[in-house]
């Protein structure tokens, strides 16, 4: 069950010719796929295209009506490999993943796909996770396009352009027998805008027809000597065909005056920010009128050399706006100019930063510097650029540097992973610090305060593999962590299989929260939900035992901090050879609440006896040391000042968002912290027996309490 439901929004996928579609970028991409007559879609979730996968999952009905096959792939490599359906058959296929992380995983399949080439249009939608808000290292997909001869689209970040790019992409792919990548930046994935829809198209040729009429063409299979021929084909046929298609179909766009002494070349995705930068400089208006000639590359690979030359020929200087590094496009344009003897000065990363987001502020500065050097008269009377530098530098705001706390993302309220790391902290106190190899997933937040655990993270599912080198005789064992998502992505073979095979003496903690939670709660093989369309409930324990793991412990309630601690200690002190695997399972609380809350409310409404749990702190007993917070960090567990002159420090307090997971109580108990925590069980619709027992208990306890109160001499 995914974090967000698009059940309402997918209705917009049925919009027909001429109707206005209003919505988010990812939804528009889905609509564009359907308008293009796609036959099959696959992919692997990850920010910023997780929601694209969720939309597709929620759009089952619409996809079924059109006969489109959708599959959540086991990994990006699996998704890329599925495009092989378009190799021999005129089937349009699209896959999606987060880039560059996913493109790295997929690159083996992509290399082979690109070499053999395709018959049907093959489109790879890349959620380009670059810049502010990114969760991965800052690299570019562009390099993959260059090394494999795949074409790379980077449309202007508005829905109309993105939708057109999807449609163009399929045609470009078919015209050149080459897979096409379409990159959409984080904000473009989530941009809300509008475009004029077209009717959806059923695929002309169906997967079923292909399956029942198999074809093979040796020239498309990557085997020598065909692979040598394929390389020649890439250079002599597909590349020129692509350049020809790009020029003929005008995939790249020109704005502003036809002639001018200077000009700007940019990636399509940079267009809006460049326009805002120009507006700040007084050289454009809010509606896209530019005083400066602009050449917008909606296709960033390959370049159409003639277009570049034509744009630059009569200009004194040209600025290339290319986000990320290195400056592949700028270098390629330099080659075009040099080869053709065009004298225009080439500017780019000399006036713009080498890396980082190209925001409007960054661009207005860079473009300003470019103009200053090459056409200062265009800057006119120089309106002041918007700037907050003076305000930010002023004392009252600078004082906030010390005050405003950092607020990185962290574990949610009631997260079942928190007790795992609380237990790890407790073991650390006893056995000392350990080498901990972390992994991608929510559990990565254990690296941050209050846990401060984990030393490395090498890639999705690679936690155990990255502890491989630490397999020597030593007084301590390495610990590695991976989530259930990473486990099924590749950790079963690269982590557990590898550790079994090499008799690695490491402790592998598999954090099983029933979903691929970090990407939004998609189901995976070991998910506990029943699904008509997928095989779930395949236990991780069976898988690891199946490939030879011997020391396997399952904890089916991670909130049992004491058991968690003891199991971890047993693993760390075990004399058995081979990996010690702990599978710590509890349902992702975010998903659980989404699942359970409506059920609970319904039961209460129907008058059924139901119990709701919440935690609280006795503020008289809490002494304000906050050890509980340092072992928990739950957003719902906070501190507050009391109105008591005898108190200096704030005491712990639990807010109304508490979901009653029990972690704080279990931690207080396991770590012998203090007895302030209590759990309140509220019984809704108590039965007659409940009420009778309550009256009896109340009578006994009440009479004792009254006696005690009467004897007490205190200020009221």
């Amino acid at each position: 069950m995914a974090e967000r439901s698009f059940a309402r929004e997918v209705e917009d996928l049925r919009l027909g010719e001429g109707e206005i579609f209003r919505g988010e970028g990812i939804l528009a991409i889905t609509k564009a796929l359907l308008q293009s007559g796609v036959s099959y879609v696959g992919g692997y979730q990850g920010s910023p295209i997780s929601h694209l996968m969720d939309v597709l999952a929620d759009a089952k009905d619409v996809l079924d009506e059109l006969g489109v096959h959708f599959e959540s792939s086991a990994s990006e490599a699996a998704a890329a490999a599925s495009l092989s359906a378009s190799v021999m058959y005129p089937l349009r296929g699209a896959v999606t993943w987060k880039s560059t992380a996913g493109t790295n995983v997929a690159s083996d399949a992509l290399t082979n796909l690109a070499s053999g080439g395709v018959t049907g249009g093959a489109l790879i939608i890349l959620g380009e996770d670059y810049g502010e808000g990114s969760s991965i290292p800052q690299e570019r997909s562009h390099a993959f396009a260059m090394k494999s001869q795949l074409w790379l689209l980077d449309p202007r970040p508005n829905l109309e352009s993105i939708v057109k790019s999807v449609e163009d992409g399929f045609e470009l792919s078919e015209a050149t027998n080459t897979p096409v990548m379409l990159q959409v930046r984080i904000r473009a994935c989530h941009v809300h805008g509008q475009f004029v829809a077209k009717d959806n198209r059923k695929p002309a040729f169906t997967i079923r027809e292909a399956l029942e009429n198999p074809q093979r063409d040796l020239n498309r299979i990557v085997l020598p000597p065909a692979s040598m021929l394929q390389d020649r084909q890439k250079l002599e046929q597909r590349w020129p065909a692509a350049v020809d298609f790009i020029k003929r179909r005008r995939l790249n766009e020109f704005f502003g005056p036809d002639a001018g002494e200077i000009g700007i070349v940019m990636q399509g995705g940079m267009y809006n920010s460049v326009m805002r930068g120009l507006q700040y400089l007084g050289l454009a208006d809010a509606y896209g009128d530019s005083k400066i000639p602009l050449y917008v590359l909606n296709v960033t690979y390959p370049l159409a050399d003639d277009e570049v030359a034509d744009f630059c020929r009569d200009k004194r200087a040209v600025l290339v706006v290319e986000e990320g590094h290195p400056e592949y496009i700028e270098q390629a344009i330099g080659t075009v100019l040099r080869r053709r003897g065009i004298a225009a000065t080439l500017a780019g990363k000399d006036v713009l930063p080498l890396g980082g987001d190209y925001t409007a502020a960054v661009l207005s500065k860079g473009i300003g510097a470019f103009l200053e050097q090459n056409a200062p008269h265009l800057l006119g009377n120089r309106p002041p650029l918007p700037s907050a530098d003076a305000i930010v530098a002023a004392a009252p705001v600078q004082k906030l540097v010390e005050i405003v706390p950092p607020r990185p993302a962290g574990f949610c309220i009631g997260c079942p992973e928190r007790p795992i790391f609380a237990a790890m902290k407790l073991v650390e106190k006893e056995l000392g610090a350990h080498q901990i190899s972390a992994d991608i997933g929510c559990h990565l937040f254990s690296i941050l305060p209050p846990f401060n655990l984990g030393g490395t993270t090498m890639g999705y599912g690679l936690g155990p593999a990255s502890a491989s080198a630490f397999n020597v005789e030593a007084g301590k064992k390495p610990i590695s962590i991976m989530g259930d998502g990473g486990f099924w992505h590749n950790g079963l073979s690269s982590g557990v299989g590898n550790a079994v095979f090499n008799k690695q003496n490491q402790v592998i903690m598999v954090v099983d929260n029933y979903y691929s939670s970090a990407t939004g709660g998609q189901d995976i093989m070991s998910s506990r939900a029943d699904s008509d369309r997928r095989s779930t409930n395949n236990p991780i324990a069976r898988a690891v035992r199946g490939i030879g793991a011997k020391w396997v412990r399952e904890i089916d309630r991670t909130y049992d901090v004491a058991k968690m601690r003891d199991t971890l200690k047993a693993a760390l002190t075990s004399k058995e050879e081979g990996p010690k695997i702990i599978i710590a399972s509890s349902e992702c609380m975010l998903n659980k609440q989404r699942r359970v809350k409506p059920q609970f409310n319904k039961a209460v409404k129907e008058g059924k006896r139901s119990v709701k749990q919440r935690f609280g702190v006795d503020e008289d007993i809490c002494t304000g040391d906050h050890a509980c917070i340092r072992l928990s960090g739950c957003p719902s567990l906070s501190v507050k000042h009391l109105d008591d002159p005898l108190r200096d420090d704030p005491v712990a307090a639990i807010d109304n968002n508490c979901v009653g997971c029990g972690n704080c109580g279990e931690v207080a108990e396991a770590a012998v912290l203090c007895p302030s925590f209590y759990r309140a069980d509220v019984i809704y619709n108590p039965t007659r027996l409940d009420r009778w027992m309550a009256r009896l208990r109340g009578a006994v306890i009440g009479s004792i309490q009254r006696r005690r109160n009467a004897r007490r001499v205190v200020f009221s």
């Binding site: 007084g282 009128d289 706390p405 949610c412 008289d620 009896l696 205190v714």
Partner: protein, 519 residues
């Protein structure tokens, strides 16, 4: 491209600029809903609106920004809108938590020429604030001061509380405040239509929207005054002769400025033990006041006695199992929890306490002699500890558990005979002796010695750690005597001791101190 707009030779064709709104929120606060409402309102008014965000998909608590730009179409042409805010060019910043308003200022989104700040003044504490062993809560005051300086106009109030009062969520109140601010040129109905179109929880949302709208239309709220109000006067009689005896002593033996703290101490100790115990407290306080007077403490507002009044009461009311059992079984606690959890009359509520007794606590609760005997038998203690040392879920609302706790609480009259009491009293004696000795040479330092008692808190390991820090800090006192700014040094050591659990800051501060007087 240029067919519609005739080209003018210099400058842009139009000076229209989009309205921009940045929303700073934490994951899970409904920033997305607010964004959708704003877009819907703008589209309702016939404008072109674009919103973007960088949502962490599942990560709930991190700071995040949503961004909206809007402008009407012109001659059928849509504007080109930016996907991220530019410092110095934001019309409205909506901050769903007060420190996020501070973050917006640090990022340059709030400038005096342009920005209306709509900020909820409530705090949602960051991990770094909550985890400190002392008081790590960041002060809101500087954010108020900075917003006075940086914002063109600031609408600041507790939007979370207003939302809760109206049975809705903060985004609805913020939307109301945005509408009420008048920055967007749309009538109120346009905003309300956006909420209605959203379709979920419409009525509560509209109610909260209205409350926010109304509140934003009122004049600005300034920073709340720091708690300067004088404590309520100490009564002279409560109608109970024994208690009135204590009050008579407070009024008769102590200067007026000290009475509120002494009253708080006496209240705590009668509740903790009995009237006589509070009397012992006043006896000690009387002696300490005499000392204070001899040292000319009147000029310092009897700072020494005031500090002693506070920390002696806390020290005498040390946390032991009797106290815990007593507090957990009180009728007033049962009532308080019912209220806090919001139990309705047709519901039942049971508490489960998470306790973890150890042999140490058992021995502490033994008569002094017996306890000391046990302490000399570590093997036996370890053996018994195996039976005792275990997490226990105590159901206070069940008769059996209640009676057990009640038995422990009933040991209260015998507390003075127990080992733990003897230990605590020793500790207090040593501490007061040090303070007294110090007072004779360095009054200000002696006051700080008293304040160091703040370091002793918690149970079990936490308590041991606190006492170790207390000893560490106070060990510096002899070397500080007669040194310049000796009190300041001790205060700094104490602050460092409260900064982290492991005592790294304290170790650093002690190192600095070692070299401070070298020159």
């Amino acid at each position: 491209m240029n067919a519609v707009m005739p080209l003018t030779p210099v400058g842009p064709a139009t000076f229209d600029r989009p309205l921009s709104i940045a929303i700073l929120a934490m994951g899970g606060q409904g920033g997305g809903v607010l964004t959708d409402w704003i877009v819907a309102a703008a589209e309702h008014a016939g404008w072109i609106a674009q919103s973007t965000s960088v949502p962490g998909v599942a990560q709930r608590t991190g700071a995040t920004i949503y961004y909206v730009e809007m402008l009407p179409p012109r001659d059928g042409r849509h504007p080109v809108l930016s996907l991220m805010p530019t410092p110095g060019d934001v019309d409205v910043v909506a901050a769903a938590e007060f420190m996020e308003a501070g973050r917006a200022m640090l990022r340059g989104f709030i400038t005096p020429d342009r920005t209306t700040l709509i900020a909820s003044t409530h705090r949602s504490l960051a991990v770094s604030e909550k985890g400190k062993p002392g008081d790590g809560i960041a002060s809101s005051e500087p954010v108020f001061e900075a917003s006075d300086f940086a914002a063109r106009h600031a609408i600041q109030f507790d939007m979370q509380a207003l939302a809760e009062r109206n049975g809705s969520v903060i985004s609805a109140v913020m939307f109301g405040a945005l509408a009420g601010s008048g920055v967007l040129p749309f009538p109120r109905e346009t905003f309300e239509a956006a909420i209605r179109e959203g379709g979920k929880g419409v009525e509560p949302s509209l109610r909260a929207f209205g409350a926010g709208f109304e509140r934003a239309s009122r004049p600005a709220e300034t920073a709340p005054a720091p708690d300067a109000e004088a404590p309520p006067p100490v009564p002279t009689s409560v109608g109970v002769p024994q208690l009135d005896g204590l009050l008579v002593r407070i009024h008769g033996e102590f200067p007026e400025t000290l009475r509120p703290m002494l009253f708080a101490g006496v209240k705590r100790l009668t509740d903790y033990q009995d009237v006589a115990y509070a009397g012992e407290y006043l006896d000690r306080m009387r002696d300490l006041l005499a000392l204070d007077r001899r040292q000319g403490g009147e000029a310092a507002g009897h700072a020494f006695t005031d500090a002693a009044a506070k920390y002696l009461a806390v020290a005498m009311a040390y946390d032991d199992v009797i106290r815990v059992a007593d507090l957990k079984t009180r009728a007033s606690r049962f009532e308080r929890i019912d209220k806090e959890i919001g139990k309705r009359d047709d519901q039942l509520l049971y508490m489960t306490e998470f306790m973890h007794p150890r042999m140490e606590e058992v021995i502490g609760t033994m008569p002094k002699g017996l306890g000391l005997w046990f302490e000399r038998k570590p093997g036996l203690v370890r053996l018994l500890d195996r039976a005792v040392n275990r997490g226990r879920r105590v159901k206070t609302g069940h008769v059996g558990w209640f009676l057990s706790l009640n038995c422990v609480a009933a040991l209260r009259p015998a507390r003075r005979l127990l080992l733990r009491h003897a230990r605590e009293m020793q500790h207090i004696e040593a501490w007061l002796a040090l303070a007294t000795r110090t007072a004779e040479q360095d009054y200000a330092l002696a006051v700080e010695v008293l304040h160091c008692r703040r370091l002793v808190k918690g149970y079990s390991d936490t308590h041991a750690r606190g006492e170790a820090k207390f000893d560490h800090v106070l060990a510096a006192v002899p070397s500080l005597l007669g040194k310049p700014d000796s009190a300041g040094w001790l205060r700094r050591l104490r602050t460092a001791a409260l900064a982290d659990e492991a005592g790294e800051a304290l170790a650093g501060a002690l190192m600095t101190l070692e070299h401070a007087f070298e020159a």
